[in-house]
Subunit: 236 residues, 2 copies
DNA sequence: GAAAATAATATGTCTGCACATAATAAGCGT
DNA sequence: ACGCTTATTATGTGCAGACATATTATTTTC
């Protein structure tokens, strides 16, 4: 076959991707403008169209290209980037820094949602929610305080789980992957949480709000506040 | 042909992906355990192996499966998730909320890096850096204060750019896409920034640190502090 | 029995080819 | 001109077959 030897006769989709990436960076293709179509590029690189397709598809999902049928492929003006945030699974985060992880269940109750939670999770207000407060520690030092609401209608199984042993997040990740969700970062003063995080009332703390859904059904709303000086790190 | 009519005889990779996703969620395949190989799945779904491959590859990049040659494909114990953060291009962020965006250059100077910057960007200390402080506004209200260092050795062209018109970030995104970088969120007190953000000295502000690289060359180190009450939102 | 050579296996990818689909462009009738 | 129908075109996807590559399993050799 023509491609058998692997060294030169065949072109890899990665090499095409890299070449195209170089051209985009060098502005050989102007931002916003059309690039040659797949057939032409395949001819240029001397490969099958499918190979070019793979390369361009990859650049599109990476956010450097915009592709539309018939309309063609064009260079994105402002590349969108994806951050691979190693899903703040607190345990892994703590242990990766060499510290010993510990978890304490503080409160557990079944309640109806207060207004903020009701709105966030788009509930009617009559649902039964599991309300859990917990503390996560690194080397016995408070690391994060979590206040979480879980919709029992969506996750009935969690009602019988012993949350003193397994943290809600760990259980949820393991048993009920979400389909989508949102995440918000904000800064606030520790306030009442200072008691758990062992800091001053007016210390600034980083708070992360997370809402997850299983299609149209709300799963959980979590408010996680980290001890002062903590940094949430993401890779780009 | 067998697949021509498009309605039933052919199976789409998306449908296979969805079916497999359902099985993973239902724990038909136990976490950590092997799933059938591509040939068997292709037989089950009545399609070509390439189609199964596409589906499984997608689930792997989404973080639900782990794939290794010869070793096979297994269900990840704790799915890794990716957040598509709409690259905090401040202008777009502000305008999407319906507000008018404005930008003001506060300071511009060429300096040698202080210790923190030198370490972060792994510099020797003798390099010339462009040091820029700027303020970004939404409807004339301070929205974000930025303190940025740009390595002129990596980005010589920016020295002649009129940064009163174009913000450094906009220029960089447009002219020099980075290959990788990191991002950190933290909470701190406004301190001296309170003057620009028009808030109290001890108000908690969300700060985002961003460092970007072009392969092994450092591009820029930015410290962006948002006005109190601002939330940084990411989609999962 | 341990190390080295060899086989087996699952995923990775490329090739041609065909048809599907979405969106634009062209043609046409009024 | 205007709106409608009908090409045309670029990307999207499927199939069968072949080879590539990374591991793991097995056998051979000392």
């Amino acid at each position: 076959m023509v491609k058998g030897d692997g060294s030169d006769s065949s072109v890899s989709w990665q090499s095409i991707r890299d070449t195209m990436m170089t051209r985009i960076r060098a502005q050989d293709y102007a931002p916003g403008e059309l690039i040659p179509n797949e057939v032409d590029l395949a001819a240029e690189f001397g490969c099958a169209r499918a190979t070019v397709n793979r390369a361009l598809r990859d650049l599109a999902t990476s956010g450097f290209l915009d592709r539309r049928r018939k309309a063609g492929t064009r260079v994105r003006e402002a590349p969108r980037r994806k951050a691979t945030l190693s899903i703040p699974l607190t345990r892994a985060e703590v242990e990766s820094s060499g510290a010993r992880y510990d978890y304490r269940l503080l409160e557990r109750a079944i309640e109806t949602p207060p207004p903020l939670v009701r709105e966030t999770l788009k509930l009617s207000g009559t649902e039964r929610l599991l309300h859990v407060k917990s503390l996560h520690l690194a080397d016995d030092v408070p690391h994060m305080f979590e206040d979480r609401w879980i919709v029992l209608e969506t996750v009935p199984a969690i009602e019988t789980v012993d949350l003193a042993k397994t943290s809600p997040n760990v259980w949820l990740v393991r048993h009920l992957p979400y389909t989508h969700g949102t995440m918000e970062f904000l800064a606030e003063t520790a306030g009442a949480r200072s008691r758990h995080l062992i800091c001053a009332d007016d210390d600034p703390v980083l708070t992360m709000l997370r809402v997850t859904w299983l299609d149209a059904s709300p799963i959980t709303f979590a408010r996680q506040s980290f001890s002062p000086s903590h940094r949430m790190r993401l890779e780009l």
